[in-house]
């Protein structure tokens, strides 16, 4: 007689998996955004929830991307009435800003989200985890299969803290999967679909080095400022965003490290092919990767043991015993607006419409020894520096230096930077002087007063409310 074997947790369909989760109206479902603009899973799940007649759901997603516009329809249909996220693309953000959602959006940070799950401030009833490879028991990763996207770091906390975990994959592999990012003991069900997304669209379009001469000038100043502050020595660690200027700064920093013969400890964050090249050249010893920004990074994390996958919690949770961001020497960040107190807006545009979010902005600014905002002083005839930003995404006390094409300004609490920067011949001004320079070009913009109802709340990484975002009616 042949004994029957366990067949695993594979469900016949997404509908069956949702039914098995005992999802009910009013519950919270979660998603990660590692497939960025190529993600199909959030839309598929919402479509299925609509078909199943659910209503009043809250979507807790690490980020809402441009491809998630069907969410707007789900809100209109009453299927979704709440959103918690760390970033929201304008394609959904503008609808939210016009008061579409009944409840306030809760914006957290990439570190604040796992912290909220760890403390119980936020709760996930059912987590839907897109995995590019999974075995029948739910051992899964984002590194293998035709839709490989690399690190699955943001989903790790969901898997640990959600009441029910559904892995959705388009590449079922034999048990046991050997390179496991999320293990079977956390997974309740597995669904196999035709495709979880388009990995070519992981790359958001902002992950190429800028060719804009002004962006290159800002990048050059930024790299020189980091060197002037004495940080470019062995075991240097840094993070940069995916914007073209940040990437150019990373390239310049790499050049300077090569010239100085310096070997960095690690680079972290969203990882790009450029950072992979620096790792492969030996400029950095390792990469700490919470998400891959392009296919080069996704390919590297699969094969290079020094390219390390990390969870969002290890990356930046203020509840954790230690984190990657706290070990950063320098971080290069962007800004839509910066106040004269150095507080930064990355949530709303000049009309107050939602078009972004903190992501890891606040976390890295708080953790890094030198937090730099690198941005053009004037953008589309709007000055970067304002008395107070429309939305405070990152507190000014965590920002150390602003770098623009016209020069740089250090936060007065970092007077220690003065001699380093001026000693290196860098153009240093007060933030008020830079503001004045910008306003000489643009005039002083009229203060926008949005007095509509609150549509979103910005929660700082420590869990306190930093600011609110109000409705903008066209």
């Amino acid at each position: 007689m042949k004994l029957s074997r366990r067949t695993g947790k594979v469900m016949p369909s997404l509908k069956d998996a949702i039914r098995s989760s005992c999802l009910k109206d009013g519950m919270t479902i979660s998603f990660h955004h590692h497939l960025r603009a190529g993600d199909y899973v959030l839309n598929d799940v919402l479509h299925t929830c609509t078909e199943l007649g659910f209503s009043n759901l809250t979507v807790n997603a690490s980020s809402i991307m441009a491809c998630h516009t069907p969410l707007v329809e789900a809100i209109r249909a009453g299927v979704v009435t709440g959103i918690e996220c760390n970033f929201m693309h304008a394609s959904v953000g503008h609808a939210i800003s016009q008061g579409l959602l009944a409840n306030d959006v809760l914006f957290r940070t990439h570190g604040g989200r796992p912290a909220a799950l760890e403390s119980g401030t936020a709760h996930i009833d059912v987590a839907f985890i897109a995995a590019s490879a999974s075995d029948p028991e739910g051992n899964c990763n984002g590194k293998e299969g035709p839709s490989a996207f690399g690190s699955i770091g943001y989903a790790m906390s969901d898997a640990v803290h959600a009441d029910y975990v559904i892995v959705i994959t388009d590449h079922l592999m034999p048990y046991p999967l050997t390179d496991v990012s999320i293990p079977e003991n956390l997974v309740d069900a597995v669904v196999v679909c035709d495709s979880i997304g388009d990995p070519d669209r992981i790359m958001s379009g902002t992950t190429r080095i800028t060719r804009d001469p002004i962006g290159l000038l800002i990048a050059d100043y930024t790299a020189r400022a980091i060197e002037a502050c004495g940080l470019l020595e062995d075991d240097f660690s840094f993070q940069t965003g995916a914007g073209g200027t940040s990437l150019a700064a990373a390239a310049y920093i790499g050049e300077r490290m090569r010239k100085l013969g310096v070997t960095g400890s690690f680079a972290s964050g969203g990882i790009t092919g450029l950072l992979v090249d620096l790792l492969n050249e030996g400029v950095f010893k390792s990469l700490a990767d919470v998400q891959c920004f392009d296919r080069e990074a996704a390919a590297s994390i699969r094969k290079n043991p020094h390219h390390v996958e990390i969870s969002a919690s290890r990356y930046a949770s203020p509840q954790a015993k230690s984190t990657i961001v706290d070990r950063l020497d320098a971080v290069i960040l962007g800004a839509t607006e910066i106040g004269t107190d150095f507080s930064v807006n990355v949530h709303t545009d000049s009309n107050g419409m939602i078009m972004g979010g903190s992501g890891g902005h606040s976390d890295t600014a708080a953790g890094a020894s030198l937090a730099i905002i690198a941005a053009p002083l004037v953008r589309a005839r709007l000055p970067l520096i304002v008395d107070r930003p429309q939305t405070v995404s990152t507190p000014g006390k965590t920002i150390d230096l602003l770098v623009t094409q016209y020069g740089m300004a250090y936060n007065p609490k970092r007077r220690d930077l003065h001699d380093c920067l001026t000693g290196a011949g860098l153009p240093v001004f007060s933030i008020e002087e830079l503001k004045e320079k910008a306003e000489r070009l643009t005039g002083k913009p009229r203060l926008l007063k949005n007095e509509g109802r609150i549509v979103a709340r910005v929660i700082g990484r420590d869990g306190d409310e930093l600011d609110v975002i109000r409705a903008v009616h066209k």
Partner: protein
């Protein structure tokens, strides 16, 4: 110092303001080729406003006016002179006629703007076969002329030949222009390198121009500024020799001698002038401090 001379289109305000931070020696605000016929008035106004209100620092502010044969040229000269241009670039210059026409309107413009007569210079853009042949005549036609510049694209069209990356078709024009300009004590600026994405190609082209005697190069892209500066950066040995020349000439002057021997060779005033140019380039390239260079030049 006219190593790098960057064109900025006169009809794009966001690009004009970049002139305040781009690391070039000369900014050339363009009213001619970059601006369509229907935008000439608006661009003239925009450039005038930019010259009046923006701080371009030590960069020389030049406006490329429209062809002297068009009605725009007079309006261009009157307006941008009043707004504070340091010099005008005169396109399609052919001999003294073009120069005298421009200089005559400039006299009037300076008077209207209460500027000292002759304070605004002319940079002659030579871009036709006849222009090349009459380069010396043009260069010596007015004391306002500060420099000659070569327009290789239009010249190639006028010659009926293809423009190539190697630029062999421009050899005669380049050397002829250098000769004419230098004979009049002027700067001579080479034609722009037209592939904005090929920085190394630009470096090669600028290095060649420097070897022929050009003092700088026109640039159509900010990406060309770095390779141009690299090409015009003197070597360490050139700078060391120039410093020795200046020092030896200072000693000769103190001793009342006209010429002096250095490293077994006689040096005189033309060698001193060349050494001073080298030191000026070295200072602009960040190889010497301004004070050191100034004190050298002051001797």
């Amino acid at each position: 110092m006219r190593r790098s001379c960057l064109f900025l289109p006169g009809n794009q305000p966001n690009i004009l303001q970049n002139g305040m931070v781009l690391p070039c020696d000369v900014l050339i605000f363009d009213l001619e080729d970059a601006v369509s016929e229907k935008e000439k008035d608006a661009a003239r106004e925009l450039i005038s406003q930019a010259l009046t209100t923006l701080d371009f620092g030590v960069r020389e502010k030049v406006v490329r006016i429209n062809d002297m044969e068009t009605f725009h040229a007079r309006l261009d000269i009157i307006n941008v002179t009043k707004a504070g241009a340091d010099a005008l670039m005169v396109p399609k210059t052919v001999g003294s006629d073009t120069v005298q026409k421009a200089a005559s309107i400039l006299d009037e413009a300076e008077e209207k703007a209460d500027l000292p007569l002759g304070s605004v210079g002319l940079i002659l853009l030579i871009e036709t076969a006849m222009g090349i042949e009459k380069a010396f005549e043009a260069a010596s036609a007015s004391s306002r002329v500060r420099a000659l510049a070569l327009g290789g694209e239009d010249l190639a069209a006028d010659l009926g030949c293809s423009r190539t990356k190697a630029s062999r078709e421009l050899f005669y024009a380049r050397t002829r222009l250098v000769m004419a300009g230098r004979a009049c004590g002027l700067d001579v600026i080479d034609t722009p390198f037209t592939d904005a994405r090929d920085a190394e190609g630009c470096y090669e082209d600028a290095s060649y121009a420097r070897s022929l005697g050009f003092s700088g190069k026109l640039a159509i892209s900010p990406h060309h500024l770095e390779p141009i500066h690299r090409a015009f950066r003197p070597s360490e040995s050139e700078v060391a020799y120039a410093l020795d020349v200046v020092s030896a000439m200072r000693r000769a002057k103190e001793e009342g001698l006209g010429a002096v021997s250095l490293r077994g060779k006689m040096i005189d005033l033309p060698v001193l002038a060349q050494a001073e140019r080298t030191l000026e380039l070295a200072t602009a390239s960040g190889m010497l401090s301004t004070s050191r260079s100034t004190s050298t030049k002051g001797d």
